[in-house]
């Protein structure tokens, strides 16, 4: 079904609650195969939660999450761990294993999931590191790397098993312009060269818009809008306009909901 219809990931009527608060309410998202899809939204709108739902680290309260023709919430725990080999995830912090050096970090998925001979593992690791430009750093420990380098090593590790779906969680946060540029180029390059389906979760508008083929804007537990970056820029939905143009006050208010200002001030004088 969904395996053949050109979508790698499909969320159908997904509802996810944390306590009483709905993070997502009956959301449908479809991610096209082989393209870079951006998922954008203001901070705290649950973008990372969405990634975790797709990776089945979280279970939706209702709805279906189809990945490559399988409905994840119905899979057993061992099946899920098997399924995850098809994913690569680049976490916000890189999440390198701090007790292993760069080489072992990238080799880790290979050692766990394959029985390849040592020389072959070495070749693959070197190839992946070459792709991110860090072949010279194989002997360094993670805490000797800069933030940008960590993310690139993590990227090399994420693609070690040649996943079909690669997810990026806020890849641009806290990067200087140079490493930001490198990452943007890398994401695009990997996508085109390996034919991977990429999902980029971010609130960095310009960078995401520059590499994404298709964008979703989420907020208020809903999908606010979707389309190509150009389409969204021209959207007349006020909430999307506010986000895309970066206007401080609008449908997303500047003030956190509060009782009336005057009443609050005078009320405190009464007490």
């Amino acid at each position: 079904m969904s395996a053949e219809n050109g979508y790698a990931v499909e969320l159908k009527g997904v509802t996810f609650k944390r306590g009483a608060r709905s993070i997502y309410n009956d959301v449908d998202i479809r991610i096209p195969r082989g393209k870079v899809t951006g998922i954008m939204g203001p901070s705290g709108s649950g973008k990372t939660t969405l990634l975790r739902l797709i990776a089945a680290q979280l279970k939706p309260d209702r709805g279906e999450v189809w990945v490559n023709g399988r409905n994840l919430p119905t899979l057993s725990r061992p099946d899920l761990f098997d399924m995850r080999k098809e994913f690569g995830v680049l976490f916000q912090s890189g999440a390198l294993f701090t007790d292993l050096d760069v080489f072992e970090n990238v080799a880790f998925p290979l050692r766990v999931h394959t029985k390849l001979p040592e020389e072959m593992i070495r070749d693959i690791v070197l190839m992946k590191l070459e792709a991110v430009g860090l072949r010279g750093a194989i002997e360094l420990m993670p805490d000797e790397l800069s933030g940008g380098m960590k993310r690139r090593v993590a990227l090399a590790r994420a693609i070690a098993l040649d996943p079909q779906i690669l997810m990026y969680d806020e890849p641009f946060v806290g990067q200087d312009p140079i490493s930001m540029g490198m990452l943007v180029r890398l994401i695009r390059l990997l996508n085109d060269a390996l034919g991977i389906t990429s999902i980029v979760v971010s609130h960095d508008l310009a960078e995401t818009a520059s590499i994404a083929d298709y964008l979703y804007v989420v907020g208020d537990a809903q999908v606010l809008g979707q389309g190509t970056p150009a389409e969204l820029m021209e959207s007349d939905n006020p909430r999307i306009r506010q986000f895309m143009k970066g206007i401080p006050d609008g449908p997303v208010p500047f003030h956190y909901p509060a009782p009336d200002y005057r009443a609050d001030l005078l009320g405190s004088a009464d007490a």
């Binding site: 061992p78 995850r84 976490f91 590790r157």
Partner: protein, 265 residues
Amino acid sequence: MRNRTLLERIRLLGAAGIAVVGALGRSTIFLLRALFGRGSLGNGTQLLVRQLYAVGVLSLPIILVSGVFIGMVLSLQGYSILNKYGSEQAVGQMVALTLLRELGPVVTALLFAGRAGSALTAEIGNMKSTEQLSSLEMIGVDPLKYIVAPRLWAGFISLPMLATLFSVVGIWGGAMVAVDWLGVYEGSFWSNMQNSVEFGNDVLNGVIKSVVFAFVVTWIAVFQGYDCDPTSEGISRATTRTVVYASLAVLGLDFILTALMFGDF
């Protein structure tokens, strides 16, 4: 108004109760999954060896040094009291029994909670906050198997070993003070000890105690790390909780175990 506060208090009590039961349930499932869950890793022994080093070998210095000093102090105190009754050769018996039955298992468990337990909590909490645990899951490796299980086993194995070593160096320190400094006759020091210490009753019961403590302390430490808020504040709170809960659990269990083992009922 008063009614409402009373109701509110009952509500808070209920919420706290639910939280406690919830944590117990989660930690039990966590333990069972880590120890008996399906799927093993090929390099399991290597992971275990690494943890035995981190948890056991690195705790050795503090355990050995404390053991010697506690043995020496016991010997000094015991001598000054027993001397009044002219039975200072019973010092050996007193030092050995105190160490084997109580101080060996208990003090080692307390030191272990402070040294290795807090380190385990902080390490796992840190892995959680830097998304290393999530990252493992995404690579398709169960962190319960890869991170948690070897640490649990390392704790279970290390603590009884450390407690035994603690008792031995303690007795040695006690003998040094009593025999070499205070001039207790060496032969009666040891023979008195050997007459009163029973292998099954005293030595083995002490080892059983430390096995129980090992189980509880490691479980608490690892679970607190795994269950903490993944922030720096959350980790520091979890570390404190590990030391407090583990110490209280050790002392409470020690009373129960002592009553069962040495009490007359």
